[in-house]
Subunit: 220 residues, 4 copies
């Protein structure tokens, strides 16, 4: 516990960089700080000085590590997205059923993003302004949707628009949760709607989406 507490304080990136060189550690501190500042002030209102201050480095130091505000924002977003995707993947590595996979992906995505609201906000803002991020997340998703079609579970054509729409549904639920307008059940609600949309019979959709998540599948 003490360790995880320290982790939280130091920030996830700083923690990962603990054993790297000084430069990498400073860089990581900046990224952790950026996540916090973006989440608090929003991307536009965040200032480089503020990020540097939060990272406890001189403002000039920022520019040794990042070209500008956009650069750190993009990097942070991609790293977060990559991390989230990796965790989702790991949680579903031995799961074959597409319906189950799709439902879990949405539900666990929300759990992870809401468990670390700062990351959640950063992700949300990044999904809005970084198409490349959406593309990255889409590749995992596309595979599962295609799998569902192959398995005869989904009766839709899998194309870019479907991916966008599916993603937007999850994103809107994330926004509602981060805003406090929706509770923990939002994940199941949206997963159910998504499955219905994909052609899963209502009963099956409800059963899958509302089945309790195994504790080991939850974020740690």
């Amino acid at each position: 516990m003490a360790i995880s507490k320290t982790r939280a304080l130091a920030g996830v990136f700083a923690d990962e960089a603990r054993h790297l060189g000084k430069s990498a550690r400073t860089r990581a501190r900046l990224m952790d700080a950026a996540v916090g500042v973006f989440a608090r002030d929003g991307f536009e209102a965040a200032s480089v000085n503020e990020i540097a201050r939060a990272a406890d480095v001189a403002n000039g130091t920022f520019y040794l590590h990042f070209k500008d505000k956009d650069a750190i924002a993009t990097e942070v977003a991609l790293r977060i997205a990559g991390d989230v995707a990796r965790r989702l993947d790991a949680a579903m590595v031995d799961l074959d059923d597409a319906i189950e996979r799709t439902s879990r992906a949405t539900r666990q995505f929300l759990e992870i993003a809401c468990g670390q609201p700062e990351w959640g906000w950063a992700l949300l803002r990044a999904m809005w302004s970084l198409p490349s991020l959406r593309k990255q997340m889409a590749s995992y998703l596309r595979a599962d949707l295609k799998r569902g079609v192959r398995q005869g579970a989904f009766t839709v054509k899998v194309d870019d628009l479907l991916i966008e729409v599916f993603t937007a549904m999850a994103a809107s639920a994330l926004l509602a949760r981060l805003n406090g307008e929706a509770g923990a059940e939002a994940g199941s609600k949206v997963a159910e709607l998504q499955l219905r949309m994909l052609g899963v019979p209502a009963k099956r959709a409800a059963a899958t989406a509302w089945r309790p998540l195994a504790p080991e599948a939850l974020p740690g």
Copy 2:
């Protein structure tokens, strides 16, 4: 055609104010300019100076007509949303079937927003940063969804989250169209997905969503 071209150049608000006093015309010019700047730069990045320049008035003139950027943004967003809602309403005044209404609302919303891409972008950005705008649009939608439940066509619970999700689906399609990633068929695609999600049988959903829109129902 010549006329509609002039209209486009002058901007919709300026056009409406053509016969009003000088003050109202300047105000309208500023609103048209704001639409363009918000659409191009986003709300946060837009500057009052830029809006004034686009409206071809001195920067000080802006403050004769609006207290600040928020004031013009809110007014523009509400006027646009009101205009769109009015047009949707008018097109469906004699339509009773909820499935039909819901499908049409999404499809025509996209037609209208894409027909005037600047308005489309402004709407999209406003929906992101003005919750009040989402609430306003939601009220129309909620009525139709409830109607569908009453008619036995929709098998979902109508709550805030459903509204948000439904709206997000339309918004994601709008984004794809404005980005050029999706074509005119995006409206039907999304409408179909929405109907499936609401519980409409796949066949009926497809039939309704892809039925050609009567020309008179299209925006003029």
Copy 3:
């Protein structure tokens, strides 16, 4: 009483101009408004627009009557100073004793200026920034001081510096009263100090400075 109330509402200048042409009346309204705005906001912070608004005329109208803010300020100050001087003069027309005259001048000046705090502030600010105003007020004063020397009551050399110092003493008392730091007795206190400074024996100075002012000598 009703009349004097109306006077107060309309402003002194407007009242004086009641029977003049329209232009003169507008001009007078502007001057009354300026007195109020200068007193409330200070000269620097006062804006022409605000004066025009207080006078209930269009902002452009201001420039038909005054070249700029300085012009109206100077004119207002000189008119006020002239008015005050006239009233002081009238109240002392049959008074020969220089000691008495000097004491009364200070005390009644304070009464008048404090009776109309807006005029008081305007005067005070004007005395600070308009040397010409100080010169104007000085001429009356110089006559009385010389009279006192002639009468053998004052044992000082009457020169510019004495006038300035004497005036500054009255002004500082005015400031203290307008600030609420001093009460009605400030006039007598300062008058006594002035007389002592001029060489009047302490007893005589006190007796004169603290003798109740005849009611008819008070401002109406």
Copy 4:
């Protein structure tokens, strides 16, 4: 002499900060510049940009060192007042006679303030708009006036109004000297008037106020 000339050019604050860090030196330059601009334009009319230009730094640099115009004005005024008070105090440390002290305070105050006309103007303007400055200067004065009363030399009641009036007399002499309307004798003249006002017999007042100031008591 060459050195003292350089000092004058660099400004007193900059000179004091010569051996400090770069930040402190820039800050000092800004304060010197502010003294000059306040003296020339007055506090209200002075602009931050103008101060920065006079200090030969970028406008943004100003805000690295001071929150706003008020902050630098207050600091400058207090530093000047403190400096003047310290010098007066030092020159009178072994002086017991209240009459002598009071006379010297006024005369040397004028010498100091006129020896550095910019500081004189800044002081004058600050006394007008910063009551806190008057209060600070008053505390020294009050002690000497009370001492005079204790010693039986002054026959007045020492209260706030007396302090204000006494201060105003010195200030008016300072103004006259800075304006060029009065010469070096103004100090003695005013000191004499002040002593007479306080109750010192005319002869003694004149003798004290006009006694040549020892050279070592003059500002260096």
